[in-house]
Symmetry: C2
Subunit: 379 residues, 2 copies
């Protein structure tokens, strides 16, 4: 496999970027010639330090990256609240009552007072920047950001250390703004992606972003994200103008992932239509496995979602409770088991090791290109 | 270009299928080595006869097809209404009042009684079957159907005459049902497509449908539809498992198309985010250029959409009026100019002839495959 410019920039042998919250996935992908990117938002700075030290010790010198979330825009309702404890107090008690009613309808006995997540970091600019500082203390080869234009300190620090900065975007205007801010790699993420996503499909967004960047004179490589679960799709998006693939959902169905057995079983059973783009978990539109939780919150008479990070402070303890109940054998609770996953879940039909997924991608990629070349009479 | 199985089945030289309501586009594409498919639903049987006779006289013997709509399911509110005049009477007058309010807000003086479309065919099973009969009297090389499983008479007649039957689907379960009914070609159409569409993106749907058909033992070629505006995207979807591309929106920006100048100008200006999937024109979810019309109907307090074909009987005279007013220079009316178009509208930056579009697709296709082969070290 000859390298392209993106590979040269990041050190990836095969331009398959794997976003995961699990260090084992990150290290396994990078060791197999792909490029693992650790999602850092779930960790405190101390925890992230520990995770990255582990990766450094297990990645055999292969390149890897870190993804942080530094939201560009903070809801005015949140801006005045300095810490998670004051934020928790600001949440109207009717939200907890609504959570209790949804859980109660699924055989989960409401606790007298549900734990409102106060010890977790939450997705805020200051938390994102604290994680970024930890990341830059490690030999990372990429730092990625989403939820708005990358902050100036990330661009400056990346330049100083020779670490390329990648930014996730869901619209061509956002790609231009990122390029103007000095970002090195654009990840064009379609609406079919798991987690926070826009409305435009990957197939349309990738060439639209590539063309808009060219037209504006920005010579920046683009990674395609959203829906990519196979090497054939990866080759396809590279035919449409991307220099590689950014993937997430496919790693959730590996034994190394942070997902529960119940969720992995639901992934294997799910069709592509079983996801929903909903504000009901983080406060921003994010694609996830559709469950009665989402139906209840998104109903016309459901409660308005809270802004980020308040919504996560309400939802995450509930989802933790759901997982515990499902693991203990509560069948109704299992109906509520959900996680951030894209429409590509419809292409998951088994649990495979991360190493195997990279190998399958490589083989499918070569098969797809060989097949196309043969049709086009190029071989 | 060596042919694949789909080309052998249809006689297409290059597997680029062009859906258009305009005979000029159909003939030009087929003459240029693609495969034109005439959308027949706007015509009476007599008009369709005339259109197909024209194509026969102008296509130079190249293969072409016809697309009809025979809805599998008819809304119970419509089933008892035998003709368009009784259907028109069944529409609550509040709908016409709402149309008048939307038009009035855009400087279109409401007529005392708006013309409710009674002379047009409307999308109903009997109308679809009448058009199918006309189509089979011509040397077509493909008949396509959407809105449910192809009727038995279409399959039988297609087999008898050696005309392959294609069916548009938006979900893998639908592909299996079509295959079981005896359809010869599946068009897997993603949510980014213009017109009636489902919720799953093309990039995910194509491999999901290909895999589901294989698993169920159906050896049927799949065309990718939705968002495809370039030969690079076409190559991409073929890398992901399709045998060719089914396209629509790209032909609306040709001078031959039935679109107005105002609409073509709006296409060139539009971004991919400027479309909306809405029931407000046909009664079923269909993607179209987003305008204040759609905002008004789809608002939480907007009227419920009517079932097909009643909704079109309300909306089509309004859109005809909007086009006339816009053409006469009414700037506010121009804001309402809309048509069925996919997210790929974001990739339209000029009006090109149909012949040129086919040529560009061919060149982009070869460039994309050559580039991929070079990356993969295959050349």
């Amino acid at each position: 496999m000859s390298m392209n410019r993106l590979c040269a920039l990041t050190g990836a042998e095969f331009p398959l970027f794997a976003f995961s919250h699990c260090r084992d996935v990150v290290a396994a992908v990078s060791r197999a010639g792909g490029f693992g990117v650790l999602g850092a938002t779930r960790f405190t700075p101390e925890q992230l330090e520990e995770e990255l030290a582990w990766i450094d010790a297990h990645v055999d010198g292969a390149p890897y990256g870190v993804d942080v979330l530094v939201p560009e825009v903070v809801d005015p309702r949140v801006r005045e609240l300095a810490d998670n404890r004051s934020r928790a107090k600001a949440i109207d008690p009717s939200y907890q009552e609504f959570v209790n009613s949804v859980l109660g309808a699924h055989d989960i006995v409401p606790e007298s007072q549900m734990p409102i997540l106060a010890e977790r970091m939450g997705i805020t600019p200051e938390n994102g920047l604290a994680l970024m500082e930890v990341a830059f203390r490690h030999p990372i080869r990429l730092i990625a950001n989403a939820l708005g234009v990358a902050p100036a300190s990330m661009i400056t620090e990346g330049r100083k250390r020779g670490v390329p900065v990648a930014a996730l975007v869901g619209a061509k205007e956002h790609a231009i703004r990122q390029a103007e801010a000095g970002v090195d790699i654009i990840v064009a993420q379609g609406t079919e992606a798991g987690g926070h996503c826009g409305e435009v499909s990957t197939l349309v967004l990738v060439p639209e972003v590539v063309r808009a960047l060219e037209k504006a004179g920005h010579d920046i490589p683009v990674l395609a994200a959203g829906g990519i679960m196979t090497g054939g799709q990866m080759a396809g998006m590279m035919a449409a103008g991307a220099q590689g693939a950014w993937t997430g959902s496919v790693w959730l169905a590996t034994p190394e992932a942070e997902t529960s057995e119940a969720f992995r079983e639901k992934m294997v059973a799910a069709r592509s239509r079983d996801t929903v783009r909903s504000r009901s978990r983080t406060g921003k539109p994010a694609r996830q496995l559709n469950t009665p939780w989402h139906g209840a919150w998104d109903a016309p008479d459901g409660p308005r979602s809270l802004p980020m990070p308040l919504m996560g402070m309400v939802s995450e303890p509930a989802f933790a409770r759901i997982e515990r109940e499902a693991a203990a054998g509560n069948a109704k609770a299992r109906e509520l088991v959900s996680y951030f996953v894209g429409q590509g879940v419809g292409l998951v039909d088994q649990v495979r090791s991360s190493r195997q997924v990279v190998q399958d991608f490589r083989e499918e990629f070569i098969d797809a290109v060989t097949g196309l070349a043969s049709i086009a009479g190029i071989e």
